[in-house]
C-alpha cells in the first residue's frame, strides 16, 4: 500500500469517519458496544413488572445521572480551597441563579442514591437474583460482587462530598469518619494519613476529597456500572426470566423454536440473544422499544420529580464555617455510617484496666466481616435453581430471615444514631427535647 494511502487511512480513522478494517471488526464493534447492548431486542413482561425489581437499579442510575449533571455545573461554581470553599457554597445558595436548587438536588440525590442502592442490594438478595439460572456462561455471583463494590463506591462518593461545603457539619463528620477508619489494625493510621494528606483535616484533605469526589470515584462507578449492565445481559437478563423459563418448561408445551441472532462466523461463542429466546417470545415478551424505553423514561421522570420535590421541602443545610477548635455536641458521622458509630459506642467497653477498642470492632472488623460474608455468600448458597428470581423462596427462607435480621439491625442502629442520640451521645426519646445549645448573642 502506498504511504499516502496508509496516511490517508490513518487520518480518516483519527478524524470523524470510522472505517472498520474488516467485517469482523465492524461486527465486533456492535457486539462490544455497551450502549447497543444495554437493552435486549425483546423483553419479557415479567421483567417489566413493578413488584419484582421495583426498578431500584434503574432509579440508582437515574440518581447517578442527576448527580453527574448537577455536579458538573456545581464544579464551575465551587472553589475547593479552605479559604473559599465555604463562601463559594454560600454564593451558590444565595446569588447563583437556581444555585440552591442545584445544590439541593445534588444533596438529595446523593442521600437517595445511598438508600436506593442499599434497597437494590436487599431486593437482589431476597429474590436470590445473585444465583445463576440456566443461561450458558452466566456468572451472577460475579455481578453481585461488582454490585457490592458499587455500593461501597457510592458510600465513598457520598462521604467525600460531605467534606466539600467546609462547614461544621462537614468538618466534624469527616473527623468522626476518618477516626473510625484509623482504628484498622496496622494500616489504620496510614490510611487516615493517606486520605487526609496529613494528620489534620486541612487543605490537603479538601483537595484529595475533591479530586476523589469529582473524578476518580465517578469514573470508577461509571466503569463498574457498565460492567454491571453488560453482565446482566450476559447472565440472561433479570433473574426472574430464569424463573419464567422454568415455568414454561413445566407447562410441557412444544419446545419453543430457538432462534439465534449470533453474528455467524464473525464473533465467538453464543450471543446473549440465545438465552432470551428461551422464553416464549410470542406469548410473554414485548419489544423493548418502545415499551422498556417508555418505562425507563417514566422511572427517570418520576425520580426527577421526587428529587425536586424533596429539594423544595428539605433545604440543604449549611452550618457555621468549619472550626477545628469547636466540636459540635454531638459530633456525628454521615447518617449511613451512624449504625457503625452506634456500634462503636456500644462496643467501647472498659473492663477493669482493659479497654475494648470499639472503633476497631464497629468501625473496621464488623463492616469488613459483613462485606466479606456478602461477597462469599453466592458461593455458599446451595439452594436449587427454583429459588432464582423469586421473592422469599421457601428454600432460602432461613438465609433470608438472617439477612433481613441484619438489615433491620443496621436500620435500627441508624435510626437510633440519627434521631435518638443527643449531646454527649446521650439517648433521647423523640418526645424528649435536647438541652438547648448556647449561641453567641
Amino acid at each position: 500500500m502506498p504511504i499516502t494511502e496508509t496516511l490517508k487511512r490513518n487520518y480518516n480513522k483519527l478524524t470523524w469517519t470510522w472505517k472498520p478494517d474488516s467485517d469482523k471488526e465492524a461486527g465486533d464493534a456492535i457486539v462490544k458496544n455497551m450502549l447497543l447492548h444495554w437493552f435486549p431486542n425483546k423483553i419479557s413482561k415479567r421483567s417489566l413488572s413493578w413488584n419484582y425489581s421495583f426498578y431500584l437499579g434503574t432509579i440508582s442510575f437515574v440518581l447517578f445521572l442527576i448527580l453527574t449533571l448537577t455536579g458538573v455545573v456545581l464544579m464551575f461554581l465551587y472553589v475547593p480551597s479552605v479559604e473559599r470553599a465555604y463562601s463559594s457554597v454560600k454564593d451558590i445558595e444565595y446569588v447563583i441563579s437556581f444555585g440552591w436548587l442545584l445544590r439541593g438536588m445534588h444533596r438529595i440525590a446523593a442521600h437517595l442514591m445511598v438508600a436506593v442502592v442499599f434497597l437494590h442490594m436487599i431486593r437482589v438478595f431476597l429474590t436470590g437474583a445473585y444465583k445463576n439460572g440456566s443461561a450458558v456462561g452466566a456468572n451472577r455471583p460475579l455481578n453481585w460482587i461488582i454490585g457490592l463494590v458499587l455500593f461501597v463506591a457510592t458510600l465513598l462518593l457520598s462521604f467525600t462530598g460531605y467534606l466539600l461545603p467546609w462547614d461544621q457539619l462537614a468538618y466534624w463528620a469527616i473527623t468522626v469518619g476518618t477516626n473510625i477508619a484509623s482504628a484498622a489494625p496496622v494500616v489504620g493510621e496510614w490510611i487516615r494519613f493517606l486520605l487526609l494528606g496529613g494528620n489534620t483535616i486541612d487543605q490537603g484533605a479538601l483537595i484529595r476529597f475533591y479530586v476523589l469526589h469529582v473524578f476518580f470515584l465517578p469514573v470508577l462507578v461509571l466503569l463498574l456500572f457498565s460492567w454491571h449492565m453488560w453482565r446482566v445481559r450476559k447472565d440472561g437478563g433479570l433473574a426472574i426470566v430464569d424463573h419464567e423459563v422454568l415455568e414454561q418448561k413445566a407447562e410441557k408445551v412444544a419446545p419453543v423454536k430457538s432462534k439465534t441472532y449470533s453474528l455467524l462466523g464473525i464473533t465467538n461463542g453464543t450471543t446473549v440473544h440465545v438465552q432470551n429466546t428461551m422464553v416464549d417470545e410470542e406469548k410473554n415478551t414485548v419489544p423493548s422499544s418502545p415499551h422498556l424505553m417508555r418505562r425507563v423514561w417514566l422511572v427517570t421522570a418520576a425520580t426527577f420529580v421526587v428529587v425536586v420535590l424533596l429539594t423544595l421541602v428539605f433545604r440543604a443545610p449549611l452550618e457555621t464555617a468549619a472550626n477545628p477548635s469547636v466540636t459540635p455536641n454531638p459530633a456525628k458521622a454521615p447518617w449511613y455510617f451512624l449504625w457503625l458509630q452506634e456500634i462503636v459506642t456500644i462496643t467501647t467497653v472498659q473492663i477493669g484496666s482493659f479497654t475494648i477498642n470499639g472503633a476497631l470492632i464497629g468501625g473496621v472488623l464488623l463492616p469488613g466481616l459483613l462485606l466479606v460474608l456478602a461477597a462469599w455468600w453466592p458461593y455458599r448458597d446451595k439452594s436449587s435453581i427454583n429459588a432464582v428470581g423469586v421473592w422469599f423462596a421457601d428454600e432460602r427462607r432461613r438465609q433470608n430471615m438472617v439477612f433481613l435480621g441484619i438489615v433491620l439491625l443496621v436500620l435500627l442502629f441508624t435510626v437510633i444514631g440519627t434521631f435518638l442520640r443527643g449531646p454527649y451521645w446521650n439517648f433521647y426519646w423523640p418526645w424528649e427535647s435536647w438541652p438547648e445549645m448556647p449561641i453567641k448573642f
Binding site: S87, Y94, F98, R294, L298, A301, A302, P438
Partner: protein
C-alpha cells in the same frame, strides 16, 4: 399472533402512558413554580418601592438611574462581599435621611471616615453579607454567629443605648485606641479595665498577670466553651459574660475573681469589650494610627516600674498585690479585697491574737486556703515576707510619727 393476544399483552401501556403524562404535568408545574419564585425574590419588591420613593421625591429622571438586580459591595482587603445594598439602596443617597428603612440615608459623619466601598457593611454592622433575603441577612438565625448588632438585639438585652452593641465591631480596628469617638460603651469598659486593674491578673493585649486566664483573644471563644449551669434566663455567650461580670462567684464558684459590684450597664460594656477581642486579620491601613500595639500611658509605665522594680516588687512577684496593697512600699492592690499589709504586723496581732510569724506558718480562714493553693511560700520566702512586712511597718510607723509631729507643729 392475533390482535386479542397483543391487546392482552399490552394492557400496561395505557397505564404507563397515563403515569408519564401525570409526571410530565408535575415536572411542568414544578419547573413553573421554581421559575416563578426565581422571578419574584424579596429584594425585587424593595427595589421597586425604592424606585417609587425616588420618583416621588426627586422625579422620574433620578428614578431611572436607580440600579436594578442584585447589588454588592466587594472589598477584597477585608474579604467582604456584602449584598446589603441590594435592599438598602439609599445608603449613600442625599435627601433620604428621614425615609423609612431599608431606604434611609446612612448617617453622614461616620460614613465620611468609613466609606462603604472601603469598609463594606457587615464589618461594622455584623449580619450575613452573603445573604439576599432579610431574615438570613440580619442573621438572627441558627448557624450564623454574627447577627446584625442593631436595635432588635439591643432591645432584647435591655441596653439603655439600643444601638450600642455595634460598638463591639468598632473595636476590631480601634482596639488599641484609648478612646474612640462614638463608642461610649467600649470607652467606658476600657476605663474600667484600667481603673480596676484587670491586668493584675489577666494578660490583655499581651501585657498583664497570669493569675487569671489570658483575655487577649477572649472574643474568639465559642458559646459552647462556657458553662451555663448557673446562668439564669437566656443562654448566650453575651449573657454569660454579663452575669459573670456582675457576680463572678455565682457563675463560677471556684473563681478567685473578686466581685466589683458592676452596674448592669458597666457589665454590658465589659462583656462587649472582651467579646470584641478577636484574632482578626485586618490590613494595617485600616488600623487608626497604624498602631498594632497597646502602648501604656506614662502614668501606667511609672506604676509598672514601681510595682515591678520598687522595694515591694516581691509582693507583686508572689501575686499578694492582687488583693492587698502594701502602701508604704508603693504597692497598689489590683482589687482592694484584703487589708493594707503595711500595717500587717499590728493588724494580725489585733485580729487573730497571734504574731505575724506564727500566723504565716499556720494561717487560718481565707489565708489558709490562699497560702495552700494559689500562693505557696518556701521557708526562705516566708522569712523574706516577714522581713519585708516588718520593714513596711517600720516605714508606716515612721510616717505616722512624722504626721503627728507635723500636726503638732
Amino acid at each position: 399472533m392475533d390482535h386479542k393476544t397483543i391487546k392482552d399483552k399490552l394492557t400496561f401501556v395505557k397505564k404507563d402512558k397515563l403515569i408519564i403524562s401525570i409526571i410530565g404535568i408535575a415536572v411542568f408545574l414544578l419547573m413553573g413554580f421554581i421559575s416563578y419564585s426565581y422571578m419574584i425574590p424579596e429584594w425585587k419588591s424593595y427595589q421597586s418601592e425604592f424606585k417609587e420613593l425616588v420618583e416621588e421625591k426627586f422625579g422620574p429622571e433620578r428614578a431611572a438611574t436607580v440600579p436594578t438586580g442584585l447589588q454588592q459591595v466587594y472589598v477584597k482587603e477585608l474579604n467582604k462581599a456584602d449584598r446589603c445594598i441590594t435592599c438598602h439602596q439609599g445608603v449613600e443617597w442625599k435627601g433620604l435621611e428621614n425615609a423609612p428603612e431599608p431606604f434611609r440615608t446612612h448617617p453622614k459623619e461616620i460614613l465620611e471616615k468609613h466609606p462603604v466601598n472601603k469598609f463594606a457593611c457587615t464589618t461594622c454592622h455584623g449580619g450575613q453579607g452573603f445573604a439576599t433575603d432579610m431574615h438570613d441577612a440580619h442573621g438572627l438565625i441558627k448557624d450564623w454567629e454574627e447577627p446584625v448588632l442593631g436595635r432588635d438585639l439591643g432591645e432584647f438585652y435591655v441596653m439603655s443605648d439600643k444601638k450600642a452593641l455595634m460598638q463591639m465591631n468598632c473595636n476590631s480596628c480601634h482596639r488599641y485606641d484609648k478612646s474612640t469617638k462614638g463608642a461610649g460603651y467600649i470607652n467606658r469598659a476600657k476605663e474600667l479595665v484600667n481603673e480596676k486593674g484587670c491586668r493584675a491578673c489577666h494578660v490583655i493585649n499581651g501585657r498583664g498577670g497570669t493569675v487569671g486566664p489570658d483575655l487577649t483573644y477572649e472574643g474568639m471563644k465559642s458559646p459552647e466553651q462556657f458553662n451555663y449551669e448557673r446562668i439564669k434566663g437566656f443562654h448566650s455567650e453575651f449573657s454569660w459574660q454579663i452575669a459573670h461580670f456582675k457576680n463572678p462567684k455565682e457563675s463560677v464558684p471556684e473563681t478567685v475573681m473578686p466581685n466589683f459590684n458592676f452596674s448592669s450597664a458597666d457589665a454590658q460594656a465589659l462583656a462587649m469589650l472582651v467579646m470584641s477581642w478577636k484574632k482578626e486579620h485586618i490590613p494595617i491601613e485600616y488600623i487608626p494610627g497604624h498602631n498594632f500595639r497597646d502602648i501604656p500611658t506614662e502614668e501606667e509605665k511609672e506604676k509598672e516600674e514601681r510595682m515591678l522594680k520598687g522595694p515591694g516588687a516581691f509582693f507583686v512577684k508572689k501575686n499578694c498585690f492582687v488583693c492587698h496593697s502594701v502602701s508604704t512600699l508603693g504597692i497598689d492592690a489590683a482589687a482592694q479585697i484584703g487589708p493594707d499589709l503595711a500595717m500587717a504586723v499590728e493588724d494580725v496581732q489585733s485580729r487573730f491574737g497571734r504574731t505575724l510569724d506564727d500566723f504565716l506558718e499556720k494561717p487560718t480562714g481565707t489565708m489558709e486556703v490562699v497560702l495552700s493553693t494559689m500562693i505557696t511560700l518556701t521557708p526562705e520566702e516566708r522569712k523574706e515576707t516577714i522581713e519585708k512586712l516588718r520593714h513596711a511597718y517600720d516605714i508606716y510607723q515612721q510616717q505616722k510619727k512624722d504626721a503627728q509631729l507635723a500636726k503638732g507643729k
